[in-house]
Subunit: 371 residues, 2 copies
């Protein structure tokens, strides 16, 4: 009888955060690629671009002029996807299957640094810590506004991820509803807390109950080291390719030493360690294919706490997802199309193989290597 080999035999893995499967077909990387390749990226960007609407002192689409900012800069998106409260009430549904829910909120843009050419991978740890602090400040400020239920922090990096300006920046969309994906994760975290006995070696969640992500991170850090999904780790945080990763080099970054519902609850030391691991991870990403590595990044955490009450949302455990599209090189990406859109996500190398590739990368940025 043949033994099961995850690098040869197609199999499905379950994502317990979403309850959805991913189809793993590792032998597929062997096929030749004749399809679309991505255009090469600009090999170098100027530190200041007079045509960039995010550089210090320049004018934005809305007509306003950016200050001569020295660190981060935050402003409201000129083309926001949601608008401030109050909005009109939704009309009655024309049919029970055709429901409309109004939604309110605000969209912020966060410039990471005045330098047009410095992404997270090239910023200093103190500069990244300023970004971490700004995320915390926006989470608190937007969360204090009437009716805001969720603060979605994210970054689209690279033209192939729909980013229209290479100036390093992220976005924060704050909404009067919890978006579908964090809502699903929250429901599964809640079900886990109520159905699973706590693991003595892992940090406990609220009321001493089990936390799925604390259990998972502890297992990866303490038990499964040889299986090798951990990429980088420090005293407080771990970056790993999750067992159920969809994108070729997908990463989940999370604190593993204690249960932490949101970015507002990080200690000073945890914030510094957060900045440090972000720096190390993004340097490895850039070094993988010697390019400015495109990705979407999103922060998942506790919805805005209800004033006063224990709403149970503190089962949420702060974590970040990085979903980069590249598969084989700086120009060959994975397309999540056809079967992935209509059936279920499918990946072409195992998460363990992806993690090994990222572990083999240096933490000195390829542009900073002395010739």
């Amino acid at each position: 009888e043949i033994e099961f080999d995850p690098t040869t035999h197609p199999h499905r893995r379950l994502n317990p955060l979403t309850n959805e499967h991913v189809l793993v077909s590792p032998h597929r990387t062997k096929r030749p690629w004749l399809g679309q390749t991505e255009p090469p990226q600009p090999s170098s960007l100027p530190p200041y671009d007079p045509a960039c609407y995010l550089c210090p002192g320049n004018a934005r689409a809305g007509g306003q002029r950016n200050p001569a900012y020295a660190h981060t800069m935050v402003f409201e998106n000129d083309y926001a996807a949601v608008l401030p409260a109050p909005g009109p009430a939704a009309p009655p549904a024309p049919h029970p299957l055709l429901t409309t829910a109004p939604v309110q909120g605000g969209c912020d843009v966060l410039c990471f640094h005045p330098r047009h050419d410095l992404t997270l991978a090239r910023l200093t740890v103190p500069d990244i810590e300023r970004i971490v602090n700004e995320w915390g400040a926006i989470y608190r400020r937007r969360g204090a506004q009437e009716g805001i239920k969720y603060v979605q922090i994210f970054e689209n990096k690279g033209a192939m991820m729909g980013c229209s300006n290479p100036h390093p920046h992220g976005q924060v969309w704050s909404l009067s509803a919890v978006p579908s994906l964090p809502a699903t994760e929250l429901a599964n975290l809640t079900a886990y807390a109520h159905s699973t006995p706590p693991t003595p070696s892992a940090p406990a969640g609220p009321h001493g109950r089990a936390c799925m992500l604390c259990d998972y991170a502890s297992f990866e850090v303490r038990v499964a080291r040889e299986e090798g999904r951990v990429v980088v780790q420090n005293e407080h945080w771990v970056a790993l390719v999750p067992w159920w990763a969809i994108w070729p080099f997908e990463i989940m970054l999370l604190p593993y030493a204690r249960h932490i519902p949101s970015i507002a609850e990080l200690t000073q030391e945890e914030k510094t360690a957060f900045a440090e691991i972000l720096s190390r991870l993004t340097k490895r990403y850039d070094n993988l294919f010697s390019c400015s590595f495109a990705y979407s990044m999103g922060v998942h955490q506790r919805p805005v706490p209800a004033p006063g009450g224990d709403d149970g949302d503190d089962v949420a455990h702060l974590h970040l997802h990085f979903t980069p599209p590249l598969l084989r090189s700086a120009s060959v990406r994975k397309f999540l199309v056809g079967f992935e859109l209509m059936g279920e996500p499918q990946r072409d190398l195992t998460p363990e193989q992806a993690a090994a590739r990222l572990r083999a990368c240096s933490e000195v940025h390829y542009l900073d290597v002395a010739e």
Copy 2:
């Protein structure tokens, strides 16, 4: 008090097939687009390409030579994502959160026509009917194989949808498990059938129960005509932009006159009407931006019926999803990134606006218009 206007006020719509929301932000189309544009497509392709591994008489990657086929051609994918049974049993999970399920099956490639340059939009209705018949034959043939539970028919069209060969073709992946998305749809169709009283004016599902998709299609065709989500219709089929569409010009194509679980249960007349509406819809798609319109298409239907028994899977109602990425022109697409990957899908024009644009298109292909 202001009245709710779906073309101005951001809102969320619920997809009852998946139970997930889409955020509709119609005012966002006003923003300028400075991001990535798609490379122009070849303006014309030769009828035969000696370098194409799908053209008649040519050699394929695996070394085999294609026959001089006259209509459709089916072969097993040389780089299949799943492999035939039996495969080895899955290993025990190293942790309850890290589960593996083995999966078996087969992957077929279906060439639509010997002509390298003729997509669905340019084929005759009889030629499209041959493709419909081939889909039915594969569904039956693969479904008769031991252990196959689902037959996923799909097409990736266009380089921007990860298709590596413009020769018109689709794929069929047959699996020993129902993939996540059709499984979710089936669960929601089942819940609807058991919780909703039948609508007298709509076709009934099995056991006289309500069918969500029959109810929905009937409502769009019979009641909601002025709201305008219907794009094309014939006696048996309707193509519409669903209330909960994610992609700018997404289409759901389904039979509305009676409950039809799978492609194997179509009458001759329904098959001809299917081919006819596929022709009309894809011509409109190409005419929208005067280009060969990229999309992923997938057929959702009943899982392979269990031999003999009534397994309840006949609540499934045959339907096709078309998910095209273009938003503004032949070169400007919608990116489902950052907020969409981490929060929930977001769209920039209403489904009603998209349907109106497609209704305004001609059904004479732009390449066939006499100069």
